[in-house]
Symmetry: C2
Subunit: 449 residues, 2 copies
């Protein structure tokens, strides 16, 4: 560590155990190991220096953005160094003509979106955490979000990367153009690789035209399955929502207890749908109709941006509201669109069978559900019945043709189910790829694959 | 070869040299080597058998779809076996509810699109060759097309693959869901890998809602730069065209000479723009206005699907029309959107300086240009001045922040420029990845990377 401290500019390395501990965990309940220290990188050179040192001394490095992850991917292990990118916050270039931005990895997601809006553009990927997560973390997890039902996940906005490899070499991938097929798609390989293949130090991302108007529908249902049926109907009718979010009663109740949103006693589910098309009012009206036709007990349509922001704001509070109830194990299964109602029933059944509190929100338009298992504060880890219920939900998702994780990643949390989804050939290939980039297993060992 | 013939069902292997030769080339001028034979695979098992045999005997294998490639990626080498997938033409599943299709690799692109339309859906990626190319070839080249300005390239529609590796092992990648981040993105790695990493035997692809209406604008310009300026204006105004194609006079003249489209003597360029938004008429009217404002000599707007099909049909004839003029070297540079006018000037300058005929079409909305260098029939390869002009165009594209190839791939044709775009670290990593999948270099050796 002395050598590392000497090699970096003054103040870059923190070794105070309390401080280190605060950089060693993400937003899961997982308890980190004891890290040797934290590097607060301020430039690519800092990252290169750190990685060269780590390779020389065989020290595991855990890249870290804002630590908002929900899979334990940024959880530090004993004897590792945490490499935090959150101080690299420059937007280096924002070109309205090319509809492209070049950013450092520590830029907060919503900050980039706001900077783009000044030019009539937007940065589309918007995890609920977008006010607190970093672009680097979003890239490393291939974050989804509310708008991705229309605009795709982070991968769909990533054009090119600058990456520092485990041994300190600098790799550039991709390009500034909208299309390009020179060589294998290394950009895509880094997106979602959870810091195991390299440290992203710069990214070229795609911006899109910001929509002129947005119309929003909020619909309440007295059954969760009715709400799921409305989702299917909206998709099938080709409404192309720019947002289609579902919350169950447990979630709504948690938000209501905290923020007093005036929740009706009979409401079992709420759907928020948005259209940002040029005929957004018409599209939203159609979505409202389809909610009514599928048994909504109450439907409201609004063209006001303030009301829309408020409604979506409620949705963005969902996770924090649940954290007030206890510790959370957050699942992230994603199923083929048509399987959404079945998946929801399976979650309800698992909750009942194991007597566990599960509060579900869903990026419903994509078939991506977040059943959040709430358990007692103070416990070291989820009690057996929570794991049993979680196991059931994972297996059901896979049985329905789905996946363990739609957007949060595998991290440490989902490793034990990984083999159920990836066959032995895929697993072998994944590890082979890891060795090409990081033969000494320096970068975030034990995560993701 | 005897062993291979014996191992496969009767009739799968062709060894007649004339037949073999017809399977040994793509649509470039490149002369193939002498292949040992052609396997006409009809099932995954045929592919597994072939690859096991090839690995055992160290025989290079060239996967092949329809041979419509423009980069020499399916060009056979001496002593290789061509593995054609074009007989695997089943659409195994088409789910309107999940908006997903599962297909064999030999399905013709437009056939899948038509099958989807029966359910109100479409398969978005539509290379100009979509009536003759295969989905497997589209995946292996990450094909673009006319609609990709709005709907993205083939990558953006690929959800999951079944792939036979060089040694005959079967790998499954991806999933049937809209999102998913379990493990590294192997699907993305195969897309665009030009048959060098594995043989795609099945693909799960995303379908989209087919638009209800389409409005089309055709505008003629007396200068190519004016047309390029109109493209920039259309993008900047946020019109979100679903198609934005540019043709220069040389291209139009070639089409006119063949199909008599009534080309005006003063027309130097034509722009075809389309909107498939729900207010397509309004969007198209705005695009027409912007053409007028940028000096169009003639603008026509039509809401009729027949007229639209006719206009787009003209564009799809462009390449065949040029092939009537002589042999063609097709470039495929892609530049950041704002650099389109400059790139066009550079192409014109190269044509003039080297006295070479260059006919350019562009997927203009994406900054993707196809300058087609026409040279004398009968020549073994392009004369020096054509290579010199092509070299200039490549270098200029890279200098403008662009790429060698937007959608056709590297194949054999662009290998000599590859190092200009991919640095040494990227090159080393690419070869490392190749070794993970194909350590004996059996699959399409010498292509792509
Ligand atoms: C309230 C709340 C709501 C959320 N909502 C969503 C949602 O809607 N959608 C969604 O997808 N996620 C959501 N998340 C999860 C989380 O915000 C995302 O995973 C996010 O992308 C993590 O970003 P981060 O900067 O916090 O990364 P971290 O948590 O710090 O790290 C995550 C992973 O990325 C790696 N990493 C970080 N930076 C780099 C880099 N520069 N180079 C290489 N690797 C790097 C880390 O090693 C780790 O593997 C939510 C989280 C919370 C707390
Ligand atoms: C008139 C014309 C217009 C065109 N317009 C466009 C256009 O607009 N956009 C565009 O992108 N391209 C265009 N092309 C180029 C060409 O059509 C595309 O590259 C197409 O994707 C090739 O498909 P194919 O089935 O003919 O593949 P092939 O030419 O047979 O093969 C191409 C590559 O794919 C590999 N391959 C094929 N099948 C498989 C498989 N199952 N598994 C693994 N590897 C495989 C081959 O090894 C080779 O490397 C055009 C070509 C022509 C002739």
């Amino acid at each position: 560590m002395k050598e590392l401290i000497a090699a970096l500019p003054v103040g870059r390395v923190l070794t105070d155990p309390d401080v280190t501990e605060s950089y060693a965990r993400d937003r899961t309940f997982l308890r980190p190991g004891k890290a040797l220290g934290v590097v607060l990188a301020q430039s690519r050179d800092d990252v290169v220096t750190t990685m060269r040192w780590a390779t020389e001394h065989r020290v595991p490095v855990v890249p870290r953005g804002a630590g908002t992850g929900l899979a334990g991917a940024a959880t530090a292990m004993d004897g590792s160094v945490v490499l935090s990118l959150h101080r690299m916050t420059s937007i280096l270039d924002l070109s309205p003509d090319d509809e492209v931005a070049v950013v450092e990895p520590g830029v907060i997601t919503a900050d980039l979106d706001r900077a783009a809006r000044e030019h009539g553009l937007m940065y589309a990927p918007d995890p609920s955490s977008y006010e607190i997560s970093t672009i680097g973390g979003n890239l490393a997890t291939n974050a989804g979000g509310l708008r991705c039902v229309k605009y795709g996940v982070t991968r769909d906005s990533a054009l090119g990367l600058e990456v520092v490899l485990a041994d300190g070499r600098v790799l550039e991938t991709g390009r500034r153009t909208m299309k390009g097929v020179t060589g294998y798609d290394l950009t895509g390989l880094f997106v979602g690789s959870e810091g195991t293949l390299g440290v992203i130090t710069k990214a070229t991302v795609r911006l899109r035209r910001a929509p002129a108007e947005v119309a929003t529908v909020a619909a309440e249902f007295s059954s969760l399955r009715d709400a799921a049926a409305a989702v299917s109907a909206i998709t099938a009718a080709g409404c192309q929502p720019s947002l289609l979010e579902l919350m169950d009663r447990t979630t709504l109740k948690a938000i209501d207890d905290w923020k007093n949103i005036g929740l009706d006693p009979g409401t079992q589910a709420m759907l928020i749908a948005q259209s940002d098309a040029s005929d957004s009012q018409r599209a939203a009206a159609r979505m409202a109709e389809l909610c009514d036709a599928n048994g909504a007990s109450f439907t409201a349509l609004s063209g006001s941006p303030e009301e829309a922001a408020e409604l979506v704001g409620v949705r963005r509070l969902a996770y924090q509201a649940k954290e007030r109830l206890g510790q959370c194990l957050v699942e992230d299964v994603c199923v083929p669109r048509s399987a959404l109602p079945e998946m929801i029933s399976a979650v309800e059944a698992a909750a009942a069978r194991h007597d566990v509190m599960i509060a579900t929100v869903a990026h419903a338009g994509d078939g991506n559900l977040h059943p959040v298992f709430v358990f007692e504060r103070g416990l070291e880890e989820p009690p057996p019945q929570v794991w049993a219920a979680a196991d059931e939900v994972f297996r059901e998702a896979l049985a329905l043709g789905g996946t363990l994780t739609g957007e949060h990643g595998v991290g440490l949390l989902k490793r034990r189910w990984l083999a159920l989804e990836s066959g032995p050939v895929a697993t072998e290939i994944q590890h082979g790829i890891k060795r090409v980039f990081d033969p000494l297993n320096i970068l975030n060992p034990g995560k993701a694959i």
